[in-house]
Amino acid sequence: MSSRRSSSGAPTSAGMTDAQITDLVSKLQQLIPQLRSTHSDKVSAAKVLQETCSYIKTLHREVDDLSDRLSQLLANTDSNTAQAAIIRSLLM
């Protein structure tokens, strides 16, 4: 028991080390376009999480807008042109 605690360092969740968590945070940071250009060493985990949340919200909003536009387009164009466009997208 004591050996396990000393091997994992401080009591972290899921038995993962802090280094792995920092690695995940940096991987997450690379995905977010706002934080990708900045120097990766000086960004805190809290800032990365905050930017992640706002980025996911932005993506959700984009998907909502796109789905609204798609639904309008699908309703307005008649079935023939819609199916033709869809078949074209399948071929491409």
Binding site: M16, Q20, K27, A46, I56, L70, A85, I86, R88, S89
Partner: protein
């Protein structure tokens, strides 16, 4: 005395062996999350074709006249999410959560938003998580609410799910943008 020591060592090594495969299994599981290449064009084409087919069913189900624009948009969004989750092949938690409860997600979102506003006054500091700063804890909780099905995940698993979810969302945006451009282009050509 000397006979006791190897026993202690063997029990320690046994304990380590017992804990190591669990750790290895967890690490192996985490590596398998990044197997879906959301950035590849092939993946996007697979998603676009699945989405197009799913939307065709939606068109046939609804009458050609627009019933109610807000509900149609939501239906498209739910279809897109479901197709995205199925493209993930069930390897991630958020995809399984989307596929498990498609109807209740939106209602649950609104309900949970109200519930959370009422409970912000209760600080939760368990001895395990005291090591994380409370600021990071709060942000992690917000993130857990944004990613579907990840409200009760541990911090590192949440980060993994978030990275996969963001890549998947980006691909979804790219595919749907391409589809809308195709439909706008196709509509104008047909009318001329």
């Amino acid at each position: 005395m000397s006979s006791l020591q190897p026993n202690v060592d063997s029990t320690n090594s046994e304990a380590m062996q017992r804990s190591n495969p669990k750790k290895r299994r967890k690490i192996g599981h985490s590596n398998s999350l990044s197997l879906v290449p959301w950035r590849s064009e092939t993946q996007q084409r697979i998603y676009s074709s699945k989405l197009a087919e799913a939307l065709r069913h939606v068109i046939h189900r609804n009458p050609p006249s627009p019933p109610a624009k807000s509900s149609a948009g939501r239906e498209v969004r739910e279809t897109a999410d479901r197709v995205l989750a199925s493209t993930a092949k069930g390897r991630t938690r958020w995809s399984r959560a989307i596929l498990a409860s498609p109807l209740n997600r939106w209602k649950l979102r609104r309900m949970h938003k109200k519930v959370h506003k009422a409970s912000t006054g209760l600080p939760k500091k368990s001895p395990e998580t005291r090591r994380r700063l409370p600021v990071v804890q709060k942000k992690a909780r917000v993130l857990g609410r944004l990613v579907p099905g990840c409200r009760k995940l541990t911090f590192p698993n949440l980060l993994e799910e978030a990275t996969d979810y963001i890549s998947a969302l980006e691909m979804q945006v790219r595919a749907m943008t391409a589809l809308t451009e195709l439909l706008t282009g196709g509509g104008s050509l047909a009318s001329a």
